[in-house]
């Protein structure tokens, strides 16, 4: 199935900004993180279709997954 993956801040280094990627059915966010070699403790925010999500979450075909490191401002 097709997943759109968006990366931000330091996660873009040596990776990409946005990519359409093919994953098997049943893929979780954690599987995508593994595939991208992003360590779980470095992750600050995960959004699926604009809503906050947990790593165990299974992705549906066509999902847009956004992955941020721990960042903040104000």
């Amino acid at each position: 199935m097709q997943i759109t993956v968006k990366l931000f801040a330091t996660f873009r280094q040596d990776r990409f900004k946005l990519a359409e990627q093919d994953y098997p059915e049943g893929t979780t966010i954690a599987d995508v993180l593994d595939a991208l070699a992003i360590a779980a403790p470095d992750v600050g925010m995960l959004f699926v279709n604009g809503r906050s999500a947990e790593p165990e979450r299974r992705l549906a075909s066509g999902a847009v997954l956004a992955i941020f490191p721990l960042v903040g401002g104000g």
Partner: protein
């Protein structure tokens, strides 16, 4: 040897007074709000002789404590009609503290047309007629002080907007690079202008190292505290690299980036105006991604942004400014936004109120969406020279919205709503509605817990738990704002226990006292209650603790949500 410096602009006299016992344990916001509540009649005209302008370094300012060199400015706000406290960096806070002044109170109002400079020094202050820097921008004014007084002098000044008593006018403070930091919100520049004070310069001569009750404990506490600032990924790495503008993409993803005058929660050109793009430009053009706005800052969220030819354009290029111009006002070019930010600093206007007002003016049809060139003209011509159009714009977001008969006017207590839409991020909506300041994200930064997953998680789309979250944050913020510490220490403070412990140890070692965490919370509550009582007496009753109606009527994409918090639940905010 703590003193209060009282500068009376009616009869041009200066008094150095002892600190009343009640004020001895206060600093920063706690002190400015206490003094304003004690000495300013809540019903006075903000630009009249009965209003006062109070500057107070924080409780830790002037010491070697990390991130502690910020100070507060308090008054009755001409924008909101309520009490106001702003925090700013720059070099003056530490200098004032080391001269022994806990607060500087500017009161009264001169009768004639003469403008003045107030020179603060170790023995008091000298009030001098001012002609040379009148109508100059803030950068030229700072330059003038560097050349004619000394590079090491502190400067607190107005741009033309403040001289013209506009409600969008801020007060500018010289930073370590002779650039500008600001007491941004609430039109405090107009209050200073009403007193005919163009600038306050601070002569550092005779300043002394502050006495510490327990120097060894202070040093150890500062080391432990600083470690938490450097260890936390947000304060130790994220803010240094991307500044606060990293939030553009975060809020866009979360659907809470108010776009085109709050008609959408996402912006198509978000990447062009993001912190990531800013960082790339800074590095490619020889700017500086990390920079401090005040001495002893370890977090360094500020930066120096250059143009394509490598020339300085702006510093302290904040998320809120970039959001307001770039998403709310649809200016798509980050370089144009940077140029406008520089003009905001130079003419001395709030970089939130002004662009939010401009987006309302765009919707009204006064200028095209995203027209950076026209914005620059309006700023440089109309606002700078106070043409009738400039004065209308200078009244702020609410003023312009009313002038054009609009209903979508994003203000609370007449102050512009900043960069986070309250419909999909309910916690920040509670803060906007209830804070004593008028719409102000910093008063209780619920974004941390609603979006950034700092200090736990509270679902931003649900009303549950938001009042409590905002209340706890507002209480803690009022306390932090009293220490002189930068609010960004809240990121480690929410996650690492040693951070707040370090702050308390610093206070105890500085003053030889035995504060506990509960005392700090009690101080925060006391500050909020003093401010709330002032607002009630000023006519800002419970009916003003609410968001504008359009948030209840218009759903926002992508989450398709309205503001739907019960007014009774909101009112329960004050049950403490």
């Amino acid at each position: 040897m703590d003193k209060i410096l009282r500068v009376n602009m009616t009869d041009l006299t200066v008094k150095v007074e002892p600190v009343p016992a009640d004020w001895a344990g206060l600093g920063g916001r706690a002190l400015t709000s206490t003094i304003v509540a004690a000495e300013v009649p809540p019903t006075c005209h903000p630009l009249g002789p009965n209003n006062k302008l109070v500057f107070a370094p924080g409780l830790l300012s002037g010491t070697a404590a990390s991130n502690a060199n910020r100070f507060s400015c308090g008054s009755k706000s001409p924008l909101t009609g309520g009490i106001k406290e702003c925090s700013a960096g720059g070099t003056s806070s530490g200098l004032i503290a080391r001269l022994g002044y806990k607060a500087i109170i500017i009161e009264g109002k001169p009768a004639g047309d003469t403008w003045y400079t107030v020179v603060v020094h170790k023995d008091g202050a000298t009030i001098k007629p001012e002609t040379e820097v009148l109508r100059l921008g803030t950068f030229a004014t700072v330059q003038h002080v560097n050349e004619h007084y000394g590079e090491d002098f502190g400067v607190i000044t107005l741009g033309p907007a403040g001289e013209n008593l506009m409600a969008i006018a801020n007060i500018s403070v010289k930073d370590p690079e002779s650039k500008i930091r600001s007491f941004g919100r609430g039109g405090l520049g107009a209050v200073m202008g009403s007193k005919k004070v163009k600038m306050i310069v601070v002569n550092p001569e005779g300043g002394v190292a502050l006495r510490l009750a327990d120097p060894a404990k202070f040093k150890a506490a500062n080391q432990a505290f600083t470690k938490t600032l450097l260890d936390h990924p947000v304060s130790g790495q994220g803010l240094k690299k991307y500044g606060t503008a990293v939030l553009v993409n975060v809020l866009n993803e979360a659907g809470g980036l108010p776009t085109k005058n709050f008609t959408s929660g996402q912006c198509a050109h978000h990447d062009a105006i993001s912190g990531e793009t800013m960082y790339e430009n800074i590095v490619a053009r020889g700017g500086e991604p990390s920079h401090n706005c005040s001495p002893s800052c370890q977090i360094q969220c500020s930066q120096i942004y250059n143009d394509k030819d490598g020339n300085y354009v702006t510093s302290g290029f904040e998320y809120e400014t970039i959001w307001a111009l770039g998403a709310d006002g649809m200016v798509e070019d980050l370089d144009v936004i940077a140029e406008i930010d520089n003009v905001f600093d130079d003419i001395g206007v709030d970089s939130i109120e002004t662009p939010v007002m401009l987006a309302v003016a765009m919707e009204a049809g006064l200028l095209p969406w995203g027209d950076g060139k026209r914005i620059l003209e309006l700023l440089r011509n109309d606002i700078t020279h106070a043409t009738p159009l400039g004065r209308m714009l200078g009244g702020g977001t609410g003023h312009v919205g009313r002038a054009f008969g609009m209903t979508r006017i994003p203000v609370v207590k007449n102050q512009a709503i900043p960069a986070y839409d309250p419909r999909p991020i309910k916690g920040i909506g509670v803060t906007y509605a209830t804070t004593t300041m008028g719409a102000d994200h910093t008063a209780g930064y619920a974004i941390a817990t609603n979006i950034l997953n700092v200090g736990g998680k509270v679902d931003p789309l649900s009303n549950d738990g938001q009042v409590e979250l905002s209340r706890n944050l507002q209480i803690a913020t009022a306390a932090i704002d009293s220490t002189g510490l930068c609010l960004f220490i809240a990121f480690p403070a929410l996650d690492i226990p040693e951070c707040l412990g370090g702050v308390i140890d610093l206070l105890n070692a500085r003053y030889g006292i035995n504060l506990t965490g509960d005392d700090v919370i009690a101080l925060g509550k006391q500050v909020l209650k003093i401010e709330h009582a002032f607002n009630l007496a000023a006519g800002l009753g419970p009916e003003t603790d609410r968001l504008p109606e359009f948030f209840e009527l218009e759903a926002i994409e992508p989450h398709n949500v309205k503001w739907d918090m019960d007014q009774k639940e909101l009112a329960s905010f004050w049950n403490f």
